[in-house]
């Protein structure tokens, strides 16, 4: 016993101080998901259902998608990448909104974590890292399903994985910024109010050129639209400078959201 409580042995604090503790935050989540990994498997089913209903069901009526450069693209092949992007988005954002709100307001998890050398920035960064990993993991699971459905033809589809990580980063950071404004569970309705229309209209189910130009501009500003672009292009076998704009956009939005989240969390947790 005296070995534990006896004379102080320096606890190598420097290591924790360097990373701000982001890595330990990821470890904490991994430890918790060892108990609840089944939830992640369940999350793959939602996009699979959409793919069956829209891609296979409605796809049977639609046939090929008109208006694309490659006129041979079947409807299911067009919808699947959009669902991959949506999966990465939801996987990451659910973590930094629902789960984080619980830790922030209900369990007061961070109060005890911040009595250690961990910093608010380290905690925030760690949660975002875990959220984007989680989003990418579910996306890879869904990608396997998409492959099984026979909707993958190009090895470029592997670019979906880094794409999902970037999409996850942007939406994890956005979620983290948004969650600092929520007062109670009712406020989650506002998130739904933004997410559902975005999911329906950000070229998930049809190409951008169905809209008149002014509406196109509006849709191009949506983060999910840029996410879908980032993942749909390589999925359909395109790889070029067209990926630069979505990538830059997602990095910028995610970076700004993260800065805002840092400031808001610091005020909330260190008053």
């Amino acid at each position: 016993m005296s070995a534990v409580l006896g004379p102080h042995v320096s606890a190598r604090p420097e290591l924790a101080l360097r990373s701000g503790g982001a890595l330990a935050m990821v470890e904490r989540n991994l430890m918790i998901y060892r108990h609840t990994w089944l939830l992640l498997v369940a999350e793959i089913f939602e996009p699979v259902l959409y793919l069956l209903a829209f891609g296979v069901g409605i796809g049977g009526l639609v046939g090929n998608v008109p208006g694309l450069a490659d006129t041979d693209v079947r409807y299911a092949e067009f919808v699947a990448p959009a669902l991959l992007a949506t999966t990465a988005m939801n996987g990451a954002m659910n973590e930094t909104t629902f789960n984080l709100f619980n830790k922030l307001k209900t369990n007061h998890t961070y109060e005890s974590i911040l009595t250690t050398p961990m910093t608010v920035r380290g905690v925030a960064l760690g949660e975002v890292c875990w959220a984007l990993l989680r989003g990418a993991l579910v996306t890879v699971g869904f990608l396997v399903a998409v492959t099984v459905f026979g909707l993958v033809h190009s090895p470029l589809v592997l670019l979906v994985i880094p794409g999902a990580l970037l999409v996850g980063f942007t939406f994890a950071a956005l979620g983290l910024a948004v969650v600092t404004y929520l007062r109670d569970w009712q406020d989650f309705q506002y998130i739904q109010l933004a997410m559902l229309p975005m999911f329906l209209f950000a070229t998930t189910f049809y190409p951008l050129d169905v809209y008149p130009r002014p509406v196109q501009l509006l849709v191009e500003c949506l983060p999910l639209y840029q996410s879908i672009e980032l993942i749909r292009q390589p999925s359909l076998g395109e790889f070029g400078v067209g990926l630069l704009l979505p990538a830059a956009y997602l990095l910028a939005v995610g970076g700004l959201a993260l800065m805002l989240a840092f400031r808001r969390l610091d005020r909330a947790l260190r008053s």
């Binding site: 101080l17 005890s112 009595t115």
Partner: protein, 326 residues
């Protein structure tokens, strides 16, 4: 560090103090104009190895003071050194060397008892093998070895509190902060906890605790301060404070309906200080039995008479008043 002129009596040399606060202040919402001052400028020192208590009613500034020492809440005035480091700029370094037991148990309910300790050690950047070794020892210390692989949800209140304390020891801290450590526990759980805290004290760890329970403060604290309205109103050892603010004993007399005022008048002059309460009067005396005999001789006939030793609670109520502060 050359400021030696202001040191109150009983101070320790500059290097030896574990904690030193000078004019320490905490003001909330100052940026928005309408502010609230929780701590209004306090001076105190904590010596190595002592158990130091911060007493006070709700809103007296205890928790704010604790949070500033723990470097989870920045001070808004004055200076605060913990382990010789400036709390304003060296927060992470200080936190690496202290243990904190918050008022509410914030253990991870999704994890097992042992996992709670394992992950907490990682927040300090400790190597995994070392954390595993310490966790096993701390589970034993907290009497939780049997529960090691159960989910925290299954624990009783006392077990959770002991887990919180074990968790706060994972980094082998030099100072442990305990904010109302036994609030809400049953007597058995309280006594086990006190016994564990004595063990820590024996091992040379400096303890700082806040409490509402005066018996707890009397039992555990070598020295304490009483806070009221964000200020320290007095400082001393439990025995010393009783001696300074109270008599050795207190005689409590209860009277029948309607008799109290007349009887109180008769009892006046028996002792230096009489306190009148709605249901009884308190006579502060060094010899309770003798005072009671003298009262009887004057024709003071109480319904019940109780002589007891003066306690820290008497000191506390004398200093902070009996009215309810919420």
């Amino acid at each position: 560090m050359t400021e030696t002129t202001r040191q109150p009596q009983g101070t320790v040399p500059e290097q030896a103090a574990m904690i030193r606060a000078r004019g320490l202040q905490k003001r909330y919402g100052a940026a928005r104009g309408e502010g609230f001052t929780a701590v209004a400028g306090i001076d105190f020192e904590v010596r190595p190895g002592e158990a130091f208590g911060i007493l006070g009613a709700n809103g007296a500034g205890k928790s704010s003071t604790m949070r500033m020492i723990a470097c989870t809440s920045p001070s808004t005035g004055g200076s605060l050194d913990v382990l010789g480091l400036d709390a304003r700029t060296e927060g992470a370094r200080i936190r690496a060397r202290i243990g904190v037991v918050p008022q509410d148990d914030t253990v991870d309910v999704e994890l097992t008892v042992r996992e709670n300790l394992l992950i907490y050690g990682r927040y300090f950047g400790l190597p995994k093998a070392e954390i595993r070794r310490r966790a096993t020892e701390l589970l034993d210390f907290a009497r939780l070895t049997d529960k090691a692989d159960e989910r925290v949800e299954a624990l009783s209140g006392g077990m959770r509190r002991r887990l919180t304390i074990a968790r706060a020891l994972i980094n082998e801290p030099e100072i442990v902060l305990l904010d109302e450590p036994t609030t809400g526990l049953d007597p058995q759980a309280r006594h086990l906890l006190w016994e564990r805290l004595f063990q820590l004290k024996d091992d040379g760890i400096t303890l700082i605790l806040t409490t509402h329970y005066m018996d707890e403060a009397e039992q555990l604290c070598d020295r304490l301060v009483v806070m009221d309205g964000g200020l320290i109103v007095t400082e001393g050892s439990p025995g010393g404070l009783i001696e300074r603010y109270c008599t050795r004993e207190v005689l409590e007399l209860r009277f029948g309906p309607g008799e109290r005022e007349a009887m109180t008048d008769k009892a006046r002059g028996l002792v230096e200080r009489i306190e009148e309460l709605p249901d009884r009067i308190l006579l502060y005396t060094d010899e309770g039995e003798a005072t009671l005999a003298a009262a009887h001789a004057r024709g003071v006939v109480p319904l019940t008479a109780l002589t007891r030793r003066a306690s820290l609670e008497d000191v506390f109520l004398t200093l902070t008043g009996r009215s309810l502060v919420d």
